[in-house]
């Protein structure tokens, strides 16, 4: 807990909605279109927040709670990550389990909200979401295991902070594997190409978007914001693994984080432009490959 970590969290919260904007803008530029403004998501959020809501008569209180739970869990997960490079707001041994657990709780809420409507589309989206998560989660934990092996520390604060900076030069090959794996997991968790296409307009082909078909107004705003925050959060893991920020001092570390996040968003945009979406039954293979990369990192470190 420190002032700089709190400040970094606030920066992350404010910055998060830029990232999808950048990814989409890069995609537009590379495909020869002008594209929406980078700040489009802020406008969308502001508009949605002012709108009214429609609830399906099938739904229960879970449907209304889901968006709130999604934002709360993502926000709390951000407390556990050392955003300023050295300290987290909350830290305890094995807090990485809580990080994954909180994201899973958000997913649980969103999926139940989707099933609450009784819609076949949303059931389909929910089914796809939990299927993909089942393959993404082991990969995420393997990445964490590699970091634990590298640093000998069970705190996210240590795995991504000072102890990582100390051993960083010796374990670069493994960390590159971990970062690649984390990047693929980020693509899946934030529903980007080649896993999911955020711009698709056909319900049958959607994953994440179709789960939230029935959410409207402020509820949809919360869900969109949580998705952006999740992208920023997973992106911050990638940046922390690739750049040991602990020795840089808090202001520089924060600057590197912001720059790194913008870069991650750009890379996501590039990937979206040059790749087609994978067939639905191929996606588990991609995620297993991501987990295998992290597994190689673990084996390198176990040597």
């Amino acid at each position: 807990m420190s002032v700089s970590s709190l400040l970094s969290l606030l920066v992350l919260l404010a910055l998060a909605p830029v990232l999808p904007g950048i990814a989409n803008r890069v995609k537009s530029a590379l495909t020869g279109r002008r594209g929406a403004p980078i700040l489009q998501l802020y406008f969308d959020l502001a508009k949605l927040w002012r709108r009214g809501v429609v609830y399906s008569r099938t739904t229960t209180v879970i449907f209304r709670l889901a968006p709130v739970a999604l934002v709360a869990t993502t926000l709390l997960a951000a407390w556990l990550v050392p955003l300023d490079g050295t300290t987290s707001l909350v830290t305890f041994p094995g807090d990485l389990v809580a990080f994954a657990g909180l994201l899973a709780l958000g997913r649980f809420a969103l999926v139940l909200g989707a099933l609450d409507t009784g819609s076949s589309f949303e059931g389909m989206g929910a089914s796809r979401e939990v299927t993909l998560a089942s393959f993404a989660e082991p990969g995420l934990f393997l990445c964490f295991t590699a970091l634990v092996l590298a640093t000998g520390d069970l705190h996210l604060e240590g795995m991504l902070g000072r102890p990582l900076a100390a051993v960083w030069p010796a374990v670069v090959p493994s960390l590159l594997l971990v970062a690649t794996s984390l990047f693929i997991i980020t693509l899946a968790e934030t529903s980007r190409v080649p896993v999911d296409d955020p711009l698709t307009h056909l319900e049958l082909t959607m994953i994440h978007e179709v789960m939230v078909l029935d959410h409207s107004g402020p509820d949809l705003a919360l869900i969109l914001y949580a998705a952006a925050l999740k992208m920023a959060l997973l992106g911050s893991l990638i940046v922390s693994v690739l750049v040991p920020r602990a020795t840089l001092g808090a202001p520089v570390a924060l600057g590197v984080l912001v720059g790194g996040l913008l870069l991650v968003a750009t890379v996501i945009g590039v990937v979206e432009s040059v790749m087609a979406r994978l067939r639905m039954n191929r996606i588990p293979q991609l995620l297993v490959a991501a987990a295998a990369l992290a597994g190689f990192a673990v084996i390198l470190l176990l040597r």
């Binding site: 009214g52 229960t60 909350v90 099933l115 929910a126 299927t131 634990v148």
Partner: protein, 657 residues
């Protein structure tokens, strides 16, 4: 100790009076519930007192029965779950089996409860095995309550075969153990005499550890000897299922822990720890995969017991590896994690079975795909079931998270140690996969049963069916929440009990308890933070919403106006993606034609190994059938022949000495 005995006697008395007062509906139920709670509290009192002191050297002395921290831990969870499920049984049986004598079922239930207490408190080989056998038989009687149905008889028979295989393995184990030590005392040998036997020709440790794995493993429902469990637990009345899944299978875990404890100070070989870890991984991943394929709500929950036993075994494996590789801190963390998960699983699994019981009672079917929309008709059952679902998936801020956090920590901590034990950190993948699949499975279950539109007319009529069934569910749900938000109360006690298992010295030598409990306050803080942040964001959202009235409309179906409940995504379709990805491992087969989609479920072990092997055994046994003539004189001849054989044996023994 006298409180303990008196409490158990009172519980038995409650069962007996329920039997004798049968036909006096309300009175019998009231007497039974009062006696059960009174006896339960009385019996739990000394166990709680023992756990309160947290001194691993303490134990309440007794001859045949006694109590140490390990016994006390299991007795507390037994009595808590026993009371909740027993009380639930009163209104449940009155509604579910109005024409079948509830008194008998209550009586056998109390016998089962007391015999499990006997298993946990036994201090000699003889009392342990006797309690074990009474437990096995009384559970059989309860599984067979609906014996007029063929599937129930089949499940009961498979259970009976397996439970006796388990007993046989245990008899052999104790025979090898006591036989090796000179003057071990055979069946009257106190456990203390077994303790600390060292490996050697007189004490074949490898054999004993294998027999322990087999005997206790069958009871716990470890893959590949789990296949009796789903059928048996689904066949029993729901409150009995809750008790069997919540408590009885834990006797296998208790046995493995007791073996670990009695081996002290001789460490078990490393292969035992690795085997436990491998079996844990297999049980966890396969258990949850098979659960995901199920259509029957109670079979699904039963397969989740296999999964959770696997998770407990992972903790136990870490503990055994810690002992084998001389890492006391790791051992303590692993065993404490296994103990906490044992308690947690007892709480949330019995809660889930009680909730399922209420749904099945209301709907008249256990088929998940015929249920739907029950949250409106039974909001209190639904919310308790939601608590149980969150807990079993291991999500914060509930109790399942606390124990999975501890076991994850144990696995990850192996990675920070030198030597071969580091490889255990790879098991994290399996636990993570298990957690994610459990999330898929419980969103499927909760979403299909409680959400959406009713798939049959049942929920409309279900209103009020769960009256009287709610209190026990919410008592267990409260316990789940309590352990989840107050881990700093429970975790140190578990660490103390784990210290007792590992020989007491461990706790003090490595600052053990503090180290295990490190972070449990922070976990509680994070749980509190989660609640506060939820409330804050909820409040902001509510403030926004209160200014504008929400409209209510139909679910969006791409502008299609006539949505029916048949258009909802069914549970089978929901799981189909994962089933396809895991292929033949799941044992399920998708059968789809134009206009129909169906998933056939099978248990891979039972159908490909269990039944064919049984087939062979029966064929071989058929060759011996000529011995069974059915004529009395032949049997008399057999008797005399065995008598002569025994006499010859005695004569040969005495003459050679």
């Amino acid at each position: 100790m006298s409180f303990f005995g008196a409490g158990l006697a009172l519980i038995l008395l409650a069962g007996l009076s329920a039997f004798l007062l049968e036909g006096h509906g309300r009175l019998a139920g009231g007497v039974f519930a009062t006696g059960l709670v009174g006896g339960g509290v009385l019996a739990a009192w000394p166990a709680l007192g023992l756990l309160g002191t947290m001194d691993s050297s303490l134990s309440v002395a007794g001859g045949a029965f006694g109590m140490d921290l390990l016994s006390a831990w299991f007795l507390v969870l037994l009595l808590v779950v026993g009371m909740a499920t027993g009380i639930y049984g009163v209104p449940y049986l009155a509604k579910a089996h109005p024409h079948r004598g509830a008194g008998r079922i209550h009586l056998v239930f109390t016998i089962l409860l007391v015999s499990v207490a006997g298993v946990f408190a036994a201090r000699t080989v003889g009392t342990f095995l006797a309690s074990w056998e009474v437990m096995a038989i009384s559970a059989y009687l309860l599984i067979m309550v609906d014996h007029d149905q063929a599937p129930v008889r089949r499940a009961g028979f498979i259970y009976l075969v397996l439970t006796h295989t388990s007993t046989l393995a245990l008899v052999a184990m104790f025979a090898a153990w006591t036989g090796g030590e000179a003057g071990g005392g055979g069946w009257t040998a106190p456990f203390d005499h077994l303790a600390g036997a060292s490996d050697g020709p007189l004490f074949p440790m490898t054999l004993i550890l294998l027999l322990a794995l087999g005997g206790f493993g069958i009871k716990a429902g470890i893959v590949p000897v789990h296949f009796w469990l789903p059928g048996a637990h689904a066949a029993a009345p729901s409150h009995v299922s809750a008790f069997l899944s919540g408590v009885m299978i834990k006797s296998g875990i208790y046995g493995l822990l007791r073996v670990l404890m009695l081996l002290h100070p001789v460490p078990p070989p490393a292969w035992w720890g690795w085997t436990l870890l491998a079996l844990g991984l297999g049980s966890a991943v396969l258990g949850v995969l098979w659960a995901l394929a199920q259509h029957d709500i109670k079979r699904l929950l039963a397969y989740h017991s296999v999964e959770n036993i696997g998770i407990i075994l992972l903790g136990l494996g870490v503990g055994a590896l810690g002992v084998a590789y001389h890492q006391p801190a790791l051992a303590l963390l692993g065993v404490a994690g296994a103990l906490v998960h044992t308690l947690n699983h007892a709480l949330f699994k019995s809660l889930l079975f009680l909730g399922a019981g209420a749904v099945v009672l209301a709907a008249g079917t256990r088929q998940i795909d015929r249920l739907g929309g029950f949250a409106r008709a039974m909001p209190l059952t639904a919310s308790a079931f939601l608590v149980g679902s969150l807990a079993i998936v291991g999500l914060p801020p509930l109790n399942g998270f606390v124990s999975e956090w501890m076991i994850f920590r144990g696995l990850l901590e192996t990675g920070t140690l030198p030597g071969a034990v580091r490889i255990a950190s790879l098991a994290v993948v399996g636990l993570a996969l298990t957690g994610a699949l459990a999330l898929a499975c419980f969103t499927k279950l909760y979403g299909t049963v409680f959400h959406g539109m009713p798939r049959s007319g049942a929920p409309g009529m279900a209103r009020g069916v769960d009256a009287g069934l709610i209190w026990p569910q919410w008592a267990l749900a409260t316990a789940c929440i309590g352990v989840g938000v107050l881990p700093f109360v429970v975790v140190p006690v578990a660490a103390g009990a784990a210290g007792a298992v590992l020989g007491g010295t461990v706790t003090r030598s490595v600052g053990g308890i503090d180290r295990v409990a490190e972070g449990s306050t922070a976990v509680a803080g994070a749980a509190l933070g989660l609640v506060l942040v939820l409330a804050l964001i909820g409040w902001i959202r509510w403030r926004r919403g209160s200014r504008k009235a929400a409209r209510v409309g139909d679910t969006w179906a791409c502008a299609y106006p006539r949505v029916t409940s048949r258009m909802q995504y069914g549970a089978s379709s929901y799981a189909a993606g994962l089933m396809a990805a895991f292929g033949p491992m799941t044992g399920s087969r998708v059968v789809s034609h134009a206009g129909s989609f169906h998933v056939q479920v099978a248990d891979p072990v039972l159908d490909t190994v269990g039944l064919p092997v049984w087939e062979r055994v029966s064929q071989a046994a058929a060759r011996l059938r000529f011995l069974q003539t059915g004529r009395l004189r032949w049997y008399l001849i057999y008797l005399i022949l065995s008598l002569v054989a025994l006499l010859l044996y005695l004569w040969s023994v005495t003459t050679t000495q």
